[in-house]
């Protein structure tokens, strides 16, 4: 066989005859520990990782291209499928960007409901991360405990939006519907019981000798690297950077909530673990405040040129019929301009950049996803480490491939 230079040389899994002691192995795209369809090509010298080349794109659906051919409202369901472990959070991020482009605000009740959605999404995403992370390292018990709590949240999400995963709950200028009757009681019960559950999870892991050995000083991201590679979210905070978009650029009334930003010092897996555990507690604290202060009143922007009017009014009032007709046939047309709006999603900074030329669809919609940047640092931090730590490191970065590949 003649050697043929190929553009994909970095991905090929072949024996290197010049370095017979270097073993190339393929990990993924279908591997339980890559949390989706991430493929890694690892070169090993014994147990040591010599190089790690991630291969992305197995879940690429062309979201940004699709957006260019959809109206602003039609794109909302696609945002569910970005970070599919926290769809509510991405729903909010997208409509906030469109609202910024249009210069819209929504009433306080709508804003606080969005905060509740974001924090529920954060806790459920962190619960999945914790369960699978511990499972990857052999601590199967934790998984069952976290999934029990996650089920409570998914039931709440289902009651609120009608779906467990494809929530599509937000609308430009408001929300799909108000809270169902008695729904806040369910959230209240969760808020009251959850902090004890976090303590239980911590009892299983935080001082567990095996857990500490597998996570401390492993997969260290230095503060400098975290900033240089654009790492965001809990991964950035674990590296010691106190940065949270909810505090830095508050949106959706986050400035009215009291919470702390946990940070780490070492930037290893253990720090990322501790930061996310504390974030779950802080998220519960935000939920508690949100339930206490949940204002009454409307949830949607009063402009009838943005959201579909109430069906009963459409059938009785001429003006509402006209607005309904215009919205359905002409769709929203934000002014020309460009905006970027980012939210602190469970995985980090998720932002939407929208370039509008005044049409019904964005001219260009760019999704800045947290996981894409967080995953970029992976090859740097696993190189030189043990192959067994690759699994632990991937889990601790908490990437979700729907968001990486878009």
């Amino acid at each position: 066989m003649t050697a043929r230079p190929s553009p994909g040389a970095a991905y090929t899994v072949e024996r290197d005859d010049l370095n017979p002691e270097i073993l190339t192995i393929n990990m993924g795209p279908s591997h339980p520990s890559t949390h989706g369809v991430l493929r890694l090509v690892l070169k090993l010298d014994g147990e040591r990782v010599v190089s790690c080349v991630p291969d992305l794109g197995y879940l690429h659906r062309g979201m940004e291209k699709i957006a260019e051919n959809k109206t602003y409202h039609q794109f909302i369901p696609y945002t569910d499928r970005l970070d599919y472990l926290a769809p509510l959070s991405t729903n909010v991020a997208y409509v906030l960007a469109v609202e910024k482009l249009m210069g819209l605000t929504i009433p306080p009740r709508g804003q606080v409901i969005r905060v509740i959605c974001c924090e529920i999404a954060r806790i459920s995403s962190h619960l999945l991360w914790l369960g699978t992370h511990a499972l990857d390292l052999g601590a199967a018990t934790v998984f069952f405990h976290t999934f029990r709590e996650r089920e409570v949240l998914y039931t709440l999400i289902e009651q609120l939006t009608g779906a467990r995963l494809t929530t599509s709950y937000t609308r430009v200028g408001g929300l799909a519907c108000d809270l169902p009757d008695g729904w806040t009681d369910g959230v209240r019960r969760f808020v009251n019981s959850f902090p004890k559950k976090v303590d239980e999870f911590e009892k299983l892991l935080t001082r567990n000798r095996i857990w500490m050995d597998r996570t401390q000083n492993v997969g260290v991201i230095s503060k400098e690297d975290a900033i240089a590679y654009g790492v965001s979210g809990p991964n950035l905070r674990a590296a010691g950077v106190e940065f949270d978009l909810r505090k830095a650029f508050p949106y959706s009334s986050y400035e009215q909530f009291e919470f702390e930003i946990p940070t780490g010092t070492v930037g290893d897996i253990y720090d990322r673990y501790l930061v996310r555990m504390e974030e779950m507690r802080q998220a519960t604290r935000i939920l508690d405040q949100a339930l206490r202060k949940l204002p009454g009143g409307p949830i949607n922007n009063e402009s009838r040129k943005v959201l579909l009017p109430d069906k009963t009014r459409v059938l009785t009032a001429m003006e509402d019929l006209i607005h309904q007709f215009m919205l359905v046939t002409e769709a929203l047309t934000p002014p020309p301009g460009e905006v970027y709006h980012a939210v602190e999603a469970p995985k980090g900074e998720v932002g939407f950049y929208i370039c509008s030329t005044g049409g019904k669809s964005p001219y260009r919609l760019r999704i800045r996803s947290a996981s894409f940047c967080n995953l970029h640092v992976l090859s740097k931090i696993v190189t030189g480490g043990l192959v067994a730590d690759v699994v632990a490191t991937i889990a601790s970065l908490d990437p979700v491939m729907g968001e990486v590949d878009r």
Partner: protein
């Protein structure tokens, strides 16, 4: 009152860029509280290095980098760079316009995180980054021969 008085005051980053790069700052505009600086390609990299290194600004964090394809303009691509300063808690968007066939100098030496963003801009929009250490496709298959985010790429079927 003239139009000049109605314009919002330029943030420090824009003033500093104007002071140092004068005519290479082609325009500075504000929309919804976000500032965008249109930079001349020849000095764009220098500007990024300056924004990163300046003691007062310290725009060390590359939030995002991507490209937009334009048709019926004298330029073909716009490369958009968004940087953040933890020190000032401020963001600035830099834009560079590229004529058809023109390449963009890489940012990877200033912001290592630009590596994947530039690969994606190359993969999906077709912008070539000069000096990039590893300019391969990142999302589309390796043997793919088109750039799907270009405006002449059909939305359905190929």
């Amino acid at each position: 009152m003239t139009d000049q008085d109605l314009l919002p005051e330029e943030p420090l980053a824009v003033r500093k860029l104007r002071e140092r790069f004068s005519e290479s700052v082609l325009a500075a505009t504000e929309f919804r509280g976000e500032w965008t600086v249109l930079a001349a390609k020849s000095r764009a990299i220098e500007m990024c290095r300056f924004l990163r290194g300046d003691v007062d600004l310290q725009m060390v964090y590359l939030v995002d980098l991507f490209a937009i394809h334009w048709m019926d303009h004298e330029y073909e691509h716009e490369v958009v760079i968004l940087v953040h300063s933890f020190r000032r808690n401020e963001r600035l968007r830099l834009k560079v316009r590229l004529a058809p066939g023109e390449a963009m100098p890489t940012l990877t030496e200033i912001h290592p995180g630009a590596e994947w963003h530039e690969r994606e801009a190359f993969d999906l929009v077709g912008v070539v980054f000069e000096g990039h250490p590893d300019l391969r496709r990142i999302l589309m298959p390796e043997d793919y021969d088109a750039h799907p985010l270009r405006k002449d790429f059909p939305v359905r079927g190929w």
